[in-house]
Every structure is written in structure tokens, then in C-alpha cells.
Subunit: 234 residues, 2 copies
């Protein structure tokens, strides 16, 4: 063992950073806070990760590499079982969003805290981290997009992409705002304990997402009505 304490230090920094980035945002968290709460020296972050940005990237990489593999594995399995038949949309949605939410139950994989951080980061203005995520996991998104295209051959592809986007939003927000729920309601959500609330979030969210994914298509302007409008303008 070449100083096993360094591994502890590294992990302790990552754990603390994950928690603090979640609580105060990336810009709102200082390296002093991180190193002091992790009980390591201020210089340790730069030694182990090089910079604050690289630390943030590593916080995500540690969790998302695993999640991405799980998602793809779930999809592969289902497709292998289905053979030639197309998958049901509910299967695809579960492979993507169900796998994500079940991650919240595993404290060793970051639990709810990481999920909330992820949800937040999707709308946060730190360009560098969104660019990092977009690059690193684009292949996962593409696989799921293609699966949805096959499962819903009658829905225009552009529409599916938009709805995928809406599903991401509903999920990110639902996760990120576990305490924001006060904004919508003042009365306590009926669930007594946290466990129960998490158990029920998945079926609730799945119903909503599938309802949205399979909703009747919106009616846009037809080419005729566009011509009408153009005629009026002229």
C-alpha cells in the first residue's frame, strides 16, 4: 500500500464536494468550505484534481459512468428479449428514468443528494459542466432516442425529441425540488417518511411521463393556414 490515506482523502473530497455543490451550487461553494468540511488541507483539491472545475467534472463522472452503463444494459436486455418486436414506450422510459430514480435508493452511489445535484445542473448556468456532460454521454442519449423512434413509428421524430426533453425536465425538477414542493403547496404531502415518498415518486412520475409521451399530437399551422397568414401580411 503506497499511502492508503490518499484514497480516503480523494473520496472524502468528492463526497463533500457533491454535498456542498448540491446545497450551494458550484459558484456558491468555495474550495475552503470543501476542504474544511472534508477535513483535508486546502491544497489537496488542486493536488488530486488540478482545479475546481476538474473536481466538479469528477464528481459527475464518478456517478454517471455507472448510471450510463446501467441504462444501456437495461435497454440491451429488453431489446434482446423482445427479439424483432418493438419495445413498449414504458419499457424505454423505465430503462432511462427508472434506472435513474432507483439510483436514489443506493447511498453508495450518491443517493438522493447526487440526483438532486444532477437535476439542478441541467438548468444551471455553468457552461463547462453542461458541455462536459453533453460530450461524454451523447451516445447514451442517442441510443434512447433511437429506441423511442422505433417504439413510436407514427410520431414525428422531432416531436419525440421534444417530449424526451420535457420528460427530462419534469424528472430533473421533481428530483431537484424535493424541498421546493412548498412552492406549489403549503400542506404537507401526505407521505409520512422520506422512504415512502421516494417509493411513490417513481410510479407517479412514470404515469405522468408516459401520459405526456403518448399524448395526442399538437395541431400546428398547416401549409394552407401559413399561406393564409402570408396572404394577409402582404
Amino acid at each position: 500500500m503506497v499511502e492508503v490515506r490518499s484514497i480516503d482523502t480523494r473520496e472524502r473530497i468528492l463526497d463533500t464536494a457533491e454535498r456542498l455543490f448540491m446545497a450551494h451550487g458550484y459558484e456558491g461553494t468555495s474550495m475552503r468550505q470543501i476542504t474544511s468540511e472534508a477535513a483535508v488541507n486546502l491544497a489537496a483539491v488542486n493536488y488530486h484534481f488540478g482545479s475546481k472545475e476538474s473536481l466538479m467534472e469528477e464528481v459527475f463522472r464518478r456517478r454517471l459512468d455507472w448510471l450510463s452503463e446501467e441504462r444501456l444494459r437495461a435497454l440491451d436486455e429488453m431489446e434482446a428479449q423482445a427479439g424483432d418486436k418493438p419495445l413498449k414506450p414504458s419499457q424505454i422510459v423505465d430503462a432511462f428514468f427508472g434506472t435513474l430514480l432507483r439510483m436514489a435508493e443506493d447511498e453508495n452511489r450518491g443517493g438522493m443528494n447526487f440526483l438532486r445535484l444532477l437535476g439542478r445542473t441541467m438548468t444551471e448556468p455553468s457552461e463547462f459542466i453542461r458541455a462536459f456532460l453533453a460530450h461524454r454521454y451523447v451516445h447514451v442519449m442517442d441510443r434512447f432516442k433511437e429506441a423511442l423512434f422505433k417504439a413510436l413509428p407514427d410520431v414525428p421524430k422531432a416531436e419525440i425529441v421534444w417530449r424526451f426533453h420535457f420528460m427530462l425536465g419534469a424528472t430533473s425538477y421533481a428530483i431537484a425540488g424535493t424541498d421546493t414542493l412548498r412552492l406549489v403547496t403549503d400542506w404537507q404531502i401526505e407521505a409520512a417518511d422520506k422512504e415512502d415518498r421516494l417509493d411513490r415518486l417513481l410510479p407517479r412520475l412514470m404515469s405522468f411521463l408516459l401520459g405526456g409521451l403518448r399524448a395526442p399530437l399538437p395541431q400546428f399551422d398547416t401549409p394552407e393556414s401559413q399561406e393564409e397568414r402570408a396572404a394577409k401580411a402582404a
Copy 2:
């Protein structure tokens, strides 16, 4: 006129702050950036608003007071017209989310930039601003909640609150991530120009939201299955 320039200064600070808070987040934007881009003196922010936090609150108040009135006005009108009959869910959703998205077309009311800032802030970790919003506009949320309860008497209230929450998420994300769309897709969304994309966002989003709102209810554990589980555990 007692120095009309001060009004300009105030508004210019608000406009600039709105844009920069959107681009870099609250913590990521310094007062020096704001005052320098607004071409006002550094001390002007503290003179006019007292602090950076109060400035942020005013950025939101300026837009949301108007939006809240519009939302309530739309709801009042519909209820007056409907008389005794309950409103259709689509009407309520349009009064809330449609009014919001139509705001994006009005540059004098902040346009798309403010909407994206709002979407971001919903998941952002600045506690003070979320607390401010929750306090100041709770009456609007309550009115819409009650309207949905009446429109959907067969759906449990808790379920409606959750789905309201999911709808907020899908919308915030859709708005906040106008450029994040790259994360889901690499190919350009078919819309040629921004105008068109915005025109089509509303019907697309409305279809999705209504599909989710009216989706079949999720199946939870019945008391029986809970007893089963308890028996197993014992």
C-alpha cells in the same frame, strides 16, 4: 422632474442584471460586471437597491407581479364565463403556462431571457430567492391548485399537486434549456428561426402537459400488499 436620469439608471441596472443573472447565475455574476455593462457607477446598485440580494428580488418582482395578475385575470375570466360548470383542465393549464409562455413574445416584459432566468431559478440553490418567490406568489399557486381540484374531482388532491409540480418542471426546463437541447439531440431541431420555434413550443408543451395531467393514475401498494411485505420481512 427631479433628475430623470436616476430612473434610467435603475432600469438599466435591472435590465443588465436580468441578462447577466441568466447568463452566469446569481453567484456567478458580480456587481462589478453589472455596473460596468450597465455603464453606471459601482455604488449605484447599493444606492438604488441596498444590496445584491435585493437587486435580485427586484429583478423578479418587476416581471412576476405583472405575470401573476395576468394569470389570475385569465382564470377569473374563464370562471366567470363558465358559471357553475367546472373549467376544463386545458383552460387552467393555458391560463397558467400559456400566459407564461406568451410573455416570452413581449420583449418589454423580459422576453425569453427572463423566462429562462425564471426556469433556472426554480432549481437553483439560492435559498433566499426561492423563499422570496414562495412567499410572494403563494396565493397564485393556491388559486390554481384549487381550480385544478375542482376541474378534476376524481383525481386525488395529492396526485394533482404532484402533477402540477411535474408540469412546472417540464416547463421550466423547456424554457431554461433553449440551448441545452443539444444535450438530447445533435441534429438541429427542424424549426428554421427562433420565432417559429417559440410559436410551436406552446402547443407542443400543452399537449405534453395535458397528457401527463390526465394520465391514468399510478398503482401503489394496497394495504394488503403492504401487509404481505411486512409478513415476508418478519
